[in-house]
Amino acid sequence: MTASLTVFGDALEFVVDERRLILQKTWEHLLLSGAAMAIALVIALPLGLWLGHRHRGSFLAVNVANLGRALPSLAVIAVGFVFLGVGFWSVALALVVLAIPPILTNAYVAVDSVQADAVEAARGMGMTDRQVITRIELPLALPLIFAGIRTATVFVVATATIAAVAGGGGLGDIIVNQAGYGLEGVVGAAICVSVLALAADGAVGLLQRALTPAGLRVESRAFEADVTTGVSRRSRPMSKVDEQPG
């Protein structure tokens, strides 16, 4: 046990001594995760919102979530490597594939399950289709949409670590290269990745708070669970989506 504690001490020492390397790899890691999340958001968010607004494509939304869960990240990155070769964009696109399911499904379910009365009332007040989406559905759906974005963000930051095996760079470069950096380097980088994932989780949470209209803030504090995993960071029941055999 004391031997293992020494390793953790050495690992922290490695992080401090090699801070330039760590910072550079962290930057690569963030760049890769950020690019993947940006592309995934541009694709999945409008699609999910539109399908939810139209109350169409529940089959698609639920099955995309199920399929997304079944895709091992290592396999997706390896397949991206087969078709696109080594490098940043090969891995980034693999990460996009992995990030889309939770964002899409949550956005769909969020808008789809906005109370029909609220939408009806808005239409009765003379709101246009666009106003219904931006003023009613989007604010009410925000907590659930963000639950999906949060899941995707943590997942992408975590999975970007595996990018190293396909030449994508990032902190994984250190983790998979024990021959070069030693166990203390591997453990040090692993600590950095864990902190990064927790920080990303917290950052998206703060962003959600900032974007939630004040009137809804009390409710959103209770926190929605991500419908694709049933996982929420607070004690609230999971959504019913997972109970439907897909």
Partner: protein, 244 residues
Amino acid sequence: MIPLGGPVAGQGPVIPDFGEGSDCVVENRLFCPDWVRDNWSGTLQPALLEHVKLTIMAVAIGFVISFGAALLTHRLRLFEKPLVVFAAIVYTIPSLALFQLLVPITGLTTATVEVALVGYTLLILYRNILEGLRSVPPDVLEAARGMGLTRRQTLWRIELPLAVPATMAGLRVAVVSTIALATVAALVIPQGLGYPIFIALREAFKTEILVAGALAVGLALVADALLVVAERALTPWNRSRRAA
């Protein structure tokens, strides 16, 4: 541990050292059926079976722990918050990092992999079992008490059966995500479908990457389908309602 220094693609011709090698294998075409045939019993099938074993062990242990914890917090709500926070933090730690963080403690062993995999199942299973237990309508509980059932009888005859759908939903998520995560375990021990993927990545050997990846996805989908069948069998009352 496998010496991994990133892929070697682009450094001259790729000559995988698997089998004798047909033209297809030597030229590293997209998919070589003959390689799959030659290496099924030696490489792919053992990896698949190891993967199933790793998954079943992790989910079984995770289920026992989560079930116990859920029963405990069902009675004593005090423990719920700390348990959820702990499980949520574990859930957020990237798998590759968690495996490596455990190596100094448990070494390059199956235990390292299992501890991490079990850790990831806890949040999903615990939440779902607890939610299932709490989803029992109050009038049902009242009726049970009116019929003179003790607390223990209420738990075993009313609450647990009614918690089956939520529990099964959790099991499905846990099994499928454990199958996906177990591929990464190959970084620590040479087992499971991740191992051929890591090996093939190093040699940039396409057939093996695609086949092993497809096996992992296929395994997850088959397991998911089996659990859906199991859930239907375990909840006949839902089936009759659906038929009606």
